[in-house]
Symmetry: C2
Subunit: 618 residues, 2 copies
Amino acid sequence: MKESALILVFACFFSITNALWPIPRHLQSGSTALTLANEFRIDTSSIHGVPQDLYDAVGRTMTVLKHDHMQRLVVGRGPGDDVDLGRAQRLKRLALEIISNTNHNRSMNEGDGNRVMVNPLVIHHDHLLENTENDIDSGGTPYGFPHCEIYEHDGQLHKCNHLQSIAANTALPAEERDESYTLTVPSDGSEARLRANTTLGLLRGLTTFSQMWYTWDNWTYTVEAPFEILDEPYYKWRGLLLDTARNFFPIGDIKRTISAMELTKMNIFHWHIVDSQSFPLNLPDFPELVAKGAYSSSKQYSTKDLDDVISFAAARGVDVMLEIDTPGHTAAIHHSHPEYIACFEKTPWTTYANEPPAGQLRLTEPTVVNFTQRLFSSTIKHTPGKYFSTGGDEINRRCYEEDPVVNKTLTESGKTFEQALATFTNRTHEVLVKAGKKPVVWQEMVLDHGDLGLHKDTVVLVWISSADAKAVVEKGFKIVHAPSDYFYLDCGHGAWVGAFPDGNSWCDPFKTWQKAYSFDPLANLTTTQSTLVLGGQQLLWAEQSDPFTLDSTLWPRAAASAELFWTGPTHPNGQKPNVKEALPRLHDLRGRMVQRGIQAVALQPEYCALRPHACDLV
Amino acid sequence: MKESALILVFACFFSITNALWPIPRHLQSGSTALTLANEFRIDTSSIHGVPQDLYDAVGRTMTVLKHDHMQRLVVGRGPGDDVDLGRAQRLKRLALEIISNTNHNRSMNEGDGNRVMVNPLVIHHDHLLENTENDIDSGGTPYGFPHCEIYEHDGQLHKCNHLQSIAANTALPAEERDESYTLTVPSDGSEARLRANTTLGLLRGLTTFSQMWYTWDNWTYTVEAPFEILDEPYYKWRGLLLDTARNFFPIGDIKRTISAMELTKMNIFHWHIVDSQSFPLNLPDFPELVAKGAYSSSKQYSTKDLDDVISFAAARGVDVMLEIDTPGHTAAIHHSHPEYIACFEKTPWTTYANEPPAGQLRLTEPTVVNFTQRLFSSTIKHTPGKYFSTGGDEINRRCYEEDPVVNKTLTESGKTFEQALATFTNRTHEVLVKAGKKPVVWQEMVLDHGDLGLHKDTVVLVWISSADAKAVVEKGFKIVHAPSDYFYLDCGHGAWVGAFPDGNSWCDPFKTWQKAYSFDPLANLTTTQSTLVLGGQQLLWAEQSDPFTLDSTLWPRAAASAELFWTGPTHPNGQKPNVKEALPRLHDLRGRMVQRGIQAVALQPEYCALRPHACDLV
């Protein structure tokens, strides 16, 4: 049987292509030249009810195939000397298919074999949700669904759901998104095939396909055909945080960042949209917050901007998670609601906050709880995704201890600060849970204030140190790795606070891509605890960043975690990820980013980029 | 007398404007609003024989006055609330004047007072060349010259030189350039005056003038009139090195960098144009070098490009110094002349070079000496400036010890390596000296190989450590500070060599602007030795840089040394330079760079930039 043979082959190959990032979980490639025919097309005709965002993804793929003028990173930059592209086979068609187990009699006639091809991926680790037959009939799961109106099963007619859009798949909880796909590109010019359970899986496969091709003269070609790929992410959360409050980023920059996330198959954009320094979020229910809290009238995000970014991202398989950090990091609310904020701009700021200006929500006050509830409600109306971060980091006790309002209420109620914080947190998280959202918090909410009674579905971001992950999972929470000692992209540029001539970055040194790439998501965790690891994300806090430096600060560094959390601990060559193998591929990714308008920084002299391993330390 | 009064005033003021960088040596400003009138113009009518590049500088100044939409860095970004700009006086005219002692009867009728105004600057330190009466009559000095055809002096008629262009001034040896100027901007709307001995001095004053103004609504205004400025650089060499061999930079990027240098009054662009990784310099006499040594046909600098950059720079008071590093850092020559290069790409590279690929000129061979002489001759034909760097850093002994050709010649001649290096250096430097150039070398040529008999005018770049400066001046050479421990802009981004997962940058940590700003050019030097300090420069080696990161890597950091070496150890407030005072002005400079298309990075959250000292460490 064809599929069994394929599985056998996958078990014994070790060659690695230089082109793909993240490298697929299972990959076989050859050494045959293949060109794209002029009439090459991506064919969705076997899929019924193609959603618009899949059509758009196909269109984008065709565009980059045409416009990526990506020459191979070899001396001379092209194969003209040693490969006769004119004699190579030409690929005319990439056929897209949605695999459905309940759809035996439709255009795809391989039958159950399609499942066999995908399932081996699913069973390789135990924390991914398996596609079971039960899922197929449950009607509520939006992945793996038949692209039909009515289908026959067990002798009865069933009504099908429509094929879910990429955006709909992206709005699911991370654990429930199915991003798996298979991709075969024969070397003989016969049809290439991309198959997936979901449109989101097809998107991931299209991205892989788009990374296979180089340009020389008028050729679009590979020299590594055939390709056989079985792929799906090892971890379900592959995120990137951007802070738009310390310094503002126009939505063009955010959308470009999301495009780069799509290219690296990242799937959660953690938007730290407001903070003590500025409040650029323009909510119709709270016009005063932005009017007084934004840096200027041009440095704001309207709900139209939000919708624009979110829909742009969703179509690219990227879920946007907003963060409104509370009760700390809220000084900017003072400008419109001074009565809600304790210790505003109190000096010395070092006593009352981790960063200037000081200022925290008076969390003891019912009016503040109510305000925060309404603020969250108002915000999540605009976010189709399941996650919303309420922050909770770096709460300054002294700020509250010296605040007369908070003190009075605590004294009168006989409550401790921790009890007040628990009440504030639970009351404000209620709003999220009732709306079907999962609260996301920074690690202090679990480790620093006793048991706050957080909802069991709360996701915890581990940031202070990678060593803190274990303590959080021991409390039973799902975690996302965001450790400052590996993943903070802002470190290493000296102190940004003033009058500190010898100051270094608090999280020195600079976090290289190699450092991020060496992170072990399961370090010190038991097997059971490992199931609580959702994934990880790199982060850019913007004290020393701005739109000019955005791309080069993020890319290609953030691609390190993208591969780490997609491909997981075992690469298709059977080995662990290592920086020596990865570097040539990362040069390639950087080159492709540049082709697509992302100003990713050069990692080495071009001399080295053109000569894999010539500049390795030996 | 007016001038005497002015000097008195200069001795006792302490207020500092937030707008100027580098801050003038002597500066008084007020707190009166003044706007530019719609009909504002810069008037050169008192100057006879205005060279085209001064006209162009006036035109550029008018352009930036119109197009810098630079709002004040205050909360609200404008003075609308507290200053009635409509009622402010309007400045209609900035008059430019060339001061000439021998020109008593011409349009400027203040007589010798003009000299009095400038001379106090000159005598503040002893290593600047003084303008003496003798200079005036010497005929050969191109600064301070009368703008006339014939003038009367001591009862006789003398023929005047024509007024020298900015470019001609810039091509002088650094010590001989006169960049001094005075600038007065009254608050009552009466004529502002910019006076200098040279067109180069006028250019510096125009730059200062252009930094004084902000935009609000339709106003171009200052709130700090009147201004009284006496200014000239404390050090004559304020440089910036860019390496275009590890990674290539198109000339547009180089010209933008030079524009930023003009804005900060830097005056030497040290162009490390070729190296072992690539040879992008296209010399008509050596077409093979670039044909084989450039990364690609699009990554080359033609002599037309050179002329373009050099004339662009010269018109902006920036002298371009090319560097062709020899005998090391020359592996790229192998591609066209394998017979000239020892140990090409020999592995492990760590044994034979500081960076891959290994490869050094076979300095013992007469053909190589001849080649290098011709290479230098061919290059300096295109550089009007007085400086040319022959490098001389990081010579690898092992490379030569294992090279059969070099060994054979040494053995047959009975010479040591040091003797061969001395011969090579003197023979190749001869070409420069005969052509009126001053050789420039890295510190090893003085400290590491015994006495090589360098020409007394050789300028030495101290780079390995700031502590090495003393050893070099003790040998009697003029130095330029370029210490890696203060001024290397590439440090701190991790190792760029491959397969080195935990590698840090060799010159960790990142060199902040504060670090550069804290440098003491005269540390450990005697008064006599101090006269050998020409100045200093920050440096960008491009292993991990590219056009995308150029601006944000350079700016505003490199402005630190620009001010350090322009303003010197005593600021107009009588104090030493300090980062607390400097930061708000540096924010301002960064903002102005952004207005002019230079993507200088944000140093702090905008919250801090708008509130001087709110984010200082306290």
